[in-house]
């Protein structure tokens, strides 16, 4: 077994439930490499929702709370709130995070809570058999858009940034070095970090959206259709070509929620001790 797997996987839970050719195993590896490099395993508290990508967290031998569809972010907030020193990471998918859990994403980003949200984007609902998601391109035929999708997709990175996330990156499973670096940035960032990973799903995305269930084809598709960019103008250009821009889009320092709460508590307690603020 890969030494990272030997050290970090919950071996009694193997084999993975991921289909052959799935990108989730690659994300497990990239994430574990980041954890190994940072040495942050004991502090790790993970949450996950429902969907293939949610299982990424379960195979990692660390504390994990896998909850309901879309609810991984509030569960993470509960864990962070009870012990702010935790390194809280949420594994979620495009449907889990942007559809059913969209409201929670907005408000956690707005609060700039110190946590990392990893969104695995395979452009549709895969676990349920290939239905349209908020990330699916216009025109795509899925099990629930048999005549082609008429809805515009949502860009999770832009939504997170607009809502107040202080770190936003998007990479793909075909960019492991950049992905590991993005994970490390996110895990050490003080604030709400949003890392989207474009990932191949040969079984659903490949067969229904891209025309081939071959893992090689799907991986090559990511290489051909994801373009790393350096700045915003390039990003628009890449999007105009119908391709997916990748990059470290945003990293800024802003007051973090739990820090602000701690300061407020201290201020209030001090005032209370002096007989002031009730």
């Amino acid at each position: 077994m890969n030494p990272l797997g030997e050290k970090y996987l919950r071996k009694d839970f193997l084999p993975f439930l991921f289909c052959p050719g799935c990108g989730d195993g690659m994300i497990v590896q990239s994430f574990l490499q980041a954890v190994e490099d940072l040495g942050c395993r004991e502090n790790l508290a993970m949450t996950a929702g429902i969907g293939c990508s949610a299982w990424i967290a379960v195979y990692i031998h660390a504390d994990v709370l896998k909850v309901l569809h879309g609810r991984a972010i509030p569960a993470a907030i509960g864990l962070k709130a009870t012990q702010p020193s935790r390194t809280v990471v949420t594994f979620t998918g495009d449907g889990d995070c942007l559809a059913i859990g969209g409201n929670h994403l907005l408000h956690a980003a707005r609060r700039n809570i110190d946590m990392t949200v990893v969104v695995v984007n395979n452009q549709l609902y895969a676990m349920t058999g290939g239905q349209v998601a908020p990330s699916t391109k216009v025109g795509s035929k899925t099990q629930t858009t048999p005549y082609g999708n008429v809805e515009k997709p949502l860009d999770g990175c832009k939504v997170a940034a607009a809502a107040g996330a202080t770190l936003v990156s998007r990479w793909s499973t075909a960019h492991p070095r950049q992905l590991i670096r993005a994970f490390k940035n996110a895990l050490t960032h003080k604030g709400f970090a949003f890392v989207e990973v474009m990932s191949q799903c040969p079984v659903q995305t490949g067969r229904y959206l891209l025309g081939s269930g071959s893992p090689q084809f799907n991986f090559q598709w990511l290489k051909d259709n994801c373009v790393a960019v350096k700045d915003t103008s390039q990003r628009d250009e890449v999007e105009a070509q119908g391709k997916i821009p990748l990059g470290d889009f945003l990293q800024v320092e802003k007051p973090e929620f739990m820090e602000e709460v701690r300061r407020m508590n201290e201020r209030v307690k001090e005032a209370k001790a002096k007989g002031g603020e009730r």
Partner: protein
Amino acid sequence: MGNEACAEAALLAGCRFFAGYPITPATEILEVMSRRLPLVDGLCLQMEDEIAAVVAMVGASWGGAKSMTATSGPGFCLMQEGIGLAVAVEAPCVIVNVQRGGPASGQSTSTAQGDFYQARYGSNGDYSIIVLCPSTAQEMFDHTVKAFNLSERFRVPVIILSDEVVGHIREKVCIPDADQLAFAPRKAPTVPPEEFVPFKPDADGVPFMPAFNTGYRIPVISQAKSLSGNRGNAREADENIRRIVAKIEDHLDEFADVQVYGDPKAETAFVTFGSVCRAARSAVDMGREQGLALRSVEVKTVWPFPDTLVRKALAGAKRIVVMEMNLGMLQREVERVIRQPKIKIELFSKIGGIYPQPQEFLRFLEEKR
């Protein structure tokens, strides 16, 4: 105020995380907690909705804190998936439902008792849950302490099914010193991490619970699970579900509470829960003055329904009238428990938001005779 008494009790019981969303008539609990929790190094969060509130509470519970939320009907609907989650991941927590009129938005400022069955059966699948029904501000306090203790004891969400009258009533509450109260501790693992089996139950059916980041590296999933915490096969899922039901139902004697007010041998008995107990007590007193012997059977722990205690409290009664502010929910349970061909379980039902007067109870006895 009942809602304030509830918040005081939670703080005293050691609650250090509260997540809520404003909703009439439960908002005061969130308001008090937001004022008080910072003073004891706790955290009160007003979330984006009740779904987030209940799930954050489950996260905080696994994070190691005693946790709570409070809501009313429409919010209680949203919380149902999270209540099922708390049941499945066996997270101790307390959920207060200060009932108002329903369905949907119903009557936001008026009292009702229509969530009787929702409190028990609102989430999907087979499960068991504990539901306590206070009828005074003092009981809002006492039941909240009890709710935290039972939730820790059985690793189950405990629901305090209050209503607008009890939540908003202003009356005397005695708050004992903390050292006069007993608080159930969380059942911590007794073996080191390498020997620990995450969902292996103790003899009483309740597994041990390590908090996150204490070295146990525990997998907690919302699926029906094996003892190791992985998705269970058919046999493991069967055992898992039967266990989380049995750990509550097998220990009903530990916490079931049914009280009798008035003449315990009276031939005419009321059966009540929640705020209606108050009007029933007055009716019993008024009856006594008129030479009419009455007893009022007050069901304090409505779920799991205390069949044996209710049967005992109603022994010898010739006429049984269930008094409630819904269209006959408690009545159905009493009908299930009391199966005597000669006794019809009668119903005095008041809905629409006006709290019943004791005179109405006595009039009912007269007119329906």
